[in-house]
Symmetry: C2
Subunit: 284 residues, 2 copies
């Protein structure tokens, strides 16, 4: 990819919009496709995209890189419908938070002569739409490339370079099965927990008057995009259920120790969690 | 309380030490009692206390305010042993995170002519010892006064004034039963969740390479003082178990919805959590 390359981003939400801002700032020619006029107009006005359209046909025929910043369930259909307009040699990518559910299907509908490289930028916001897009969102975040047998090292290199150029802190290459398992535990389970925690409060309680940082930290992500996350949860069903089950088992151990007033067992669990948490900080 | 008053703090850990620093800065004469020489020496050197001792007899006979910054289980015995040295008219307080378990017992052993006012500063750190004490820890935090029938409004006013003077953001008065119920949900449950979350990871997993802010936020408090928190959990057994049970029920609803691929139900739960979380920020 060089600065004469044309990059089309489909979906100018927080992630797609933040990509557009960051790429335009670095001199790339960015075209944007979006269903709603609001985000499209805002992106054009701010200079995040050079041209905008509600449909991709014309842009696809000119693009060297296409990023489908769509919800996971939309990608296959989108490629089925518009894949034929994509020019040969184009690199196509996505931003979806789950992969296993559609990797094969997407590779099957990827136009001949093009390569699809699955990517998961671990960045985002609870809010929606281009007005919340900001290239700061990407700064220092993890960028996961989910490689398959059909990917070339040059495509991986291209996306890796772009990710680092627009501010991601670290690029990692991972296979789809591992990706979905890890994401179930590190991202989806925390979201499920945050939602369950805040929803388990009594109605009309005065909790807000008595909370400290811990409750605030644990519920921040309970402000959640319901359309996207219901897709992510169901699309990664087996991994998520297995992560929830492991977590439930640990919580039950704590509950039982409290019930039995087994201070020694509680201490052992707390020491284990402390060691793990300190280890996490060290690896930061 | 005025600037000629003598305040003795028993226990120069993070909370007791931070009180000492803040009170000395504001011109009070602060004496410190601590078992270990290390924290005592450090507190003396830093000027956080004017005098230090391993035993409280002498200081108690001179103090107008005594703050027992001890673990919850130590307070009753401490008063039994040293209460007789406390001078008449002295106000005694604590910093314990649970109350119901010992309120009556403590009032029974409070020396005649003295008043015990239960307080819970909602501030602290995962680390231990005076070297981690810092009056910044108190800044803006909630300060809960747990009033009983035996408390006078002048004692409540005194502690409230001091709390605000040393940096707490807000003082609230609450009864012991409500306090323990609210704390089980807003503080103890989040700690139990954080511990269960980090402990449910596979051994030798490479999770640390793939985490984002959400996992980091949800596990911060998994670094936990095992002696203190095992006491707090067991000392608030019924409330904590009931909070965990309500949470488990909500999490099971999410898990079941994922299992049944019930996107509509998931969305409903996510919308509820989003509304609640936004409401929380507004009340901040």
């Amino acid at each position: 990819m060089n600065k004469d390359s044309i990059i089309t981003i489909v979906g100018l939400g927080v992630v797609g919009g933040s990509y557009a801002i960051a790429l335009s700032k670095r001199g790339y020619t960015v075209y944007g496709v979006n269903r709603s006029a609001e985000s499209l107009d805002a992106a054009l006005e701010s200079g995040a995209i050079a041209r905008g359209s509600h449909t991709p046909e014309e842009f696809f025929s000119q693009s060297d890189l296409i990023i489908l910043a769509l919800y996971p369930n939309q990608i296959v259909d989108y490629l089925r419908k518009y894949g034929k307009y994509i020019k040969k040699g184009c690199l196509i990518s996505d931003v979806a938070g789950i992969k296993g559910i559609f990797v094969e299907e997407i590779e099957d509908v990827t136009p001949e002569g093009c390569e699809f490289l699955f990517c998961h930028p671990m960045a985002g916001r609870e809010k929606r739409g281009f007005k919340y897009a900001d290239d700061k969102v990407l700064q220092g975040a993890n960028f996961l490339i989910v490689g398959t047998d059909r990917n070339t090292s040059s495509a991986i290199e291209t996306m890796s370079d772009i990710a680092l150029e627009i501010g991601f802190g670290r690029v990692r290459i991972i296979d789809a099965a591992t990706h979905d398992k890890v994401i179930a535990y590190t991202s989806q389970l925390p979201h499920a927990i945050a939602v369950a925690l805040i929803n388990s409060d009594d109605e009309d309680s005065e909790t807000a008057d008595y909370i400290g940082d811990s409750y605030r930290d644990l519920t921040r992500i309970a402000n959640i995009n319901e359309d996207l996350w219901s897709e992510l949860f169901i699309g990664n069903k087996q991994n998520l259920i297995s992560s929830i089950t492991s977590f439930e088992r640990q919580l039950l151990m704590i509950k039982t120790a409290v019930e039995e007033e087994d201070g020694d067992l509680l201490k052992k669990m707390f020491i284990k969690s402390t060691v793990r948490r300190i280890g996490l900080e060290k690896k930061k």
